[in-house]
Symmetry: C2
Subunit: 128 residues, 2 copies
């Protein structure tokens, strides 16, 4: 599916630096916008290709927020509540012990995404 990087190109370095410099999750399109400032002719396909290669190699991490992929400089875990009524996504302060899960399952893990499905407090209070 994803290919492993074999050559270290200028475009790959630009993409990597942008993800590393970012303080918050960034989308492929945002990386594209920033990359074009340094390298105006870089193409969106190249940005996607390099982001995916960097994920494969473990240099950056990725997770889906809503419908779009977001990229992070480091392994990343999060918990969200997805309200089935309003469809909104809420960040939830809940932590899973990745170490414990890795132990129980015998898997090598970098991070997790926990999507809780239910009804948010606002929608619940409206008695819908």
């Amino acid at each position: 599916m994803n290919s492993y990087p074999t050559r270290w190109t200028k475009q790959m370095k630009v993409v990597l630096d942008i993800v590393y410099d970012g303080k918050s999750p960034i989308t492929a399109d945002q990386v594209y916008g920033l990359a074009r400032k340094q390298m105006p002719r870089i193409s969106l396909g190249t940005v996607y290709r390099n982001l995916n290669r960097l994920v494969v190699s473990g240099l950056i991490s990725e997770s889906k927020v809503g419908t779009v992929q977001c990229f992070y400089p480091h392994p990343y875990s999060n918990t969200h509540l997805e309200c089935r009524v309003c469809g909104r996504l809420y960040s939830v302060p809940f932590d899973l012990s990745l170490h414990q899960v890795a132990k129980e399952t015998g898997l090598t893990l970098d991070g997790y995404e926990l999507r809780l499905k239910g009804v948010c407090k606002e929608c619940a209070s409206r008695c819908i």
Copy 2:
């Protein structure tokens, strides 16, 4: 975002029955295919609209598998491993106590999706 059903239509009943009768998760497109056998002129948009309304009302559940939405007759929880190298999705026999999570967070929950991020055994053994 999603609208709440106010009228009980034939199309809604057809969609609901198909999801209820299914033994396994079903996509909107599959529901559309089955619905057309009973109601040849039903439109895909109507299938989507009714599926979403049924989710909002809590009569059925939904979760994303890869890039597509899947629908289930009952609240549904699952754990998957997403391999960052090959991109494949593996079902993992790990259960989270939803009751415990609900207690800790104070939320009303129907189910969860836990996406573990790491490297699958096959890719790990290839030493990539």
